[in-house]
């Protein structure tokens, strides 16, 4: 780990090994992954398909897919170890201390209930609020994520919402019980440029207002460059480089990060033809 950030880390992952066992074969998924999310900071976790970035997020929140399990390592949230075999304790972490936002907002919401009904269930799971206060809080959070027509959206079913609107509802739901950490797994992939900007600005705004610590998982280096403080680059299940974004993006130390940054800058492949004077 590079202790480049002076701030106290709220979430740390140390020497995490995760593997997939199917029948007799064991495939390593994550190898010696270490991360450090500074308090009230925004850390970008970048990598390509299959690099293990999503698995890292799911290991943190304790929701690895069937057959995938942690072999060794440590994950601590505000000093306390999360990798203890206790599902009830983990349930008190999810939604309460760590909120999570997924890539596909329209399938993340429960299709058979209205927005308000499913948000109420999340609220009831963690907080003891009187009935009218619940509705007030839900409306308050929907307004917080930039929804103007709160009453209509609260009554809507997920399939009636656009992708951007659904992602706002997902964010509102995951923040409903005031977690201190937000993990956003490709929160804007598949959304249009205009909507992507809206959602990213919203996350940045919420982060500043509530001193949220945000781990943003993405394949898009542009998001890292514009919104994060620091970045960890993953490739084939390993963190190959970590550091403040300026340092990593401007003078990458690892050969893979260098290639990734080069590939993201498509300007380089402009053909010779157009650069000639016409």
């Amino acid at each position: 780990m590079t202790p480049s950030d002076a701030r106290h880390p709220i979430l740390t992952v140390e020497n995490l090994f995760v593997e997939l066992s199917r029948k007799k074969a064991v495939t390593p998924i994550l190898q010696d992954v270490s991360l450090s999310l500074p308090e009230a900071g925004m850390l970008g976790l970048v990598g390509e398909t299959g690099s293990g970035k999503t698995m890292t997020a799911r290991a943190i929140i304790g929701l690895l897919p069937p057959g995938v399990h942690v072999k060794s390592g440590s994950i601590t949230l505000d000093g306390s170890e999360l990798l203890v075999d206790n599902s009830t304790a983990m349930r008190e972490v999810r939604g309460v201390q760590i909120g999570m936002v997924f890539q596909n907002p329209r399938t993340a919401l429960y299709p058979m209930s209205s927005v308000e009904a499913q948000m109420k269930r999340v609220l009831r799971a963690h907080l003891n609020l009187a009935r009218p206060n619940r509705a007030t809080r839900i409306h308050e959070y929907l307004r917080l994520v930039g929804i103007d027509d709160v009453r209509r959206v609260a009554r809507s079913y997920p399939h009636e919402l656009s992708g951007g609107m659904a992602q706002r509802v997902v964010i509102a739901t995951s923040l409903l019980c005031e977690p201190t950490v937000l993990i956003a797994d490709e929160p804007t992939t598949g959304l249009d440029a205009t909507i992507q900007r809206q959602i990213l600005e919203l996350i940045a705004d919420l982060q500043a207002r509530f001193s949220l610590s945000v781990l943003i998982i993405t394949h898009d280096l542009g998001i890292v460059a514009q919104y994060c403080d620091s970045v960890s680059v993953m490739n084939e299940g390993r963190v190959v480089e970590h550091g403040p974004k300026r340092q990593v993006l401007k003078s990458p130390a690892h050969e893979y990060s260098e290639r990734l940054i080069a590939a993201s800058d498509l300007r380089r492949i402009r053909r010779a033809k157009t650069s000639e004077p016409q």
Binding site: V93, M100, N104, T107, L109, V122, Y157
Partner: protein, 346 residues
């Protein structure tokens, strides 16, 4: 504002139901047409069968005149449709009573069996299927999977016989194949024709116990068979919803297990409900055989006897009635589906 929305909503629902009911009219018409032509096509002129193999030409001609088959086929068809619209399904040759009242007497017995079997199979199937889904890959799941897969292959009528042998002949805890009401047993006041239902609504506990005693074995036969496909379907549907993004998000929000199970099971309901519509006509087929095994005396057994005795109008009447019931179930399922799943609503 809210009341207004509720009225709007109710109006939309009424309109939807009305639309669906109107859509069934051509299907019912088709059912009637198919009944008429299929029985005519397959059987030829029923007069020959009614009159018997040794009848003279004059007798046949008389029978033809009596049942109307001397008319051109188009006129016969028109007459048949006209009769149906008046609720007249003809007169049974064997019982010499209107087919419609014969059916009215016997259908409740059949429907008791079919509807109770459907209800129990649904409850057991959903429970077993969800259970297997939640314990996917573990021992419990394997038992349910192998069990339900094997049960799919068991012939219902044979199972009925085996159960009779075991519980009647060997253990003596079930009655023999003696129908809805055993000879000499306490019978409830006959209101609908379904012994157990009549006993229940007249609070006749002795008759209820007697009827239940007769009912449990045939019911068990059918429930055993039909729990299997529902279990398999429910299992795969619950697995699909358990692995969906929305359950993952629910878990990430820290929802309690109870809530997640409720989510997954509810999301698995639409395919199960759709399947019930298909299952109903299979259940009616099964009832034909189970009734025969247990001498149940319902409409299905009536139809089989009618076929054996070449009782042409009775066969036609039963096929028609069964078609109408199936269409009605399709209608109910279609509306239920929309109630359950907001995505296809209205």
């Amino acid at each position: 504002m809210n009341a207004e929305a509720a009225i709007m909503n109710a109006r939309q629902w009424l309109w939807l139901i009305a639309k669906r009911v109107i859509f069934t009219i051509p299907i019912l018409f088709g059912v009637a047409t198919a009944t008429f032509f299929l029985t005519r096509l397959a059987g030829g002129d029923p007069a020959y069968q009614i009159a018997g193999p040794f009848a003279t030409d004059e007798v046949i001609a008389a029978v033809q005149k009596q049942i109307g088959t001397d008319m051109p086929i188009g006129d016969q068809y028109a007459a048949f449709l006209g009769d149906i619209l008046r609720g007249d399904l003809g007169t049974s040759i064997f019982t010499d009573r209107p087919v419609i009242s014969d059916l009215a007497d016997r259908l409740p017995a059949t429907l008791t069996l079919v509807i109770l079997a459907l209800a129990f199979s649904l409850v057991f199937g959903l429970a077993l299927g969800s259970f297997a889904a939640y314990r996917r890959g573990r021992a419990g799941d394997k038992v349910v999977r192998v069990g339900s897969f094997s049960a799919l292959s068991v012939p219902d009528f044979w199972l009925g016989l085996v159960l009779l042998f075991l519980f009647f002949f060997r253990f003596g805890i079930a009655p023999g194949p003696t129908g809805q009401i055993a000879l000499g047993a306490t019978a409830p006041r006959d209101i609908t024709g379904s012994a157990i239902f009549d006993a229940a609504i007249t609070f006749d506990s002795a008759a209820f116990r007697a009827a239940l005693h007769q009912l449990w074995l045939p019911l068990m036969t059918m429930v055993f068979i039909f729990t299997a496909p529902i279990t398999r379907l429910a299992r795969s549907a619950v697995i699909e919803s358990l692995t969906s993004d929305s359950i993952l998000f629910g878990r990430a929000c820290g929802l309690p297990k109870r809530q997640l199970w409720a989510y997954a099971t509810r999301a698995a309901l639409p395919p199960v409900v759709t399947f019930v519509g298909i299952l109903f006509s299979v259940l009616l087929s099964s009832a034909v055989l189970v009734e025969a095994v247990f001498s149940w005396g319902g409409a299905a057994q009536y139809a089989v006897n009618a076929i054996r005795q070449n009782d042409f109008p009775a066969v036609q009447g039963f096929v028609m009635a069964a078609g109408v019931f199936s269409v009605a179930i399709f209608l109910v399922v279609d509306i239920l589906y929309r109630v359950i799943d907001p995505r296809v609503r209205l």
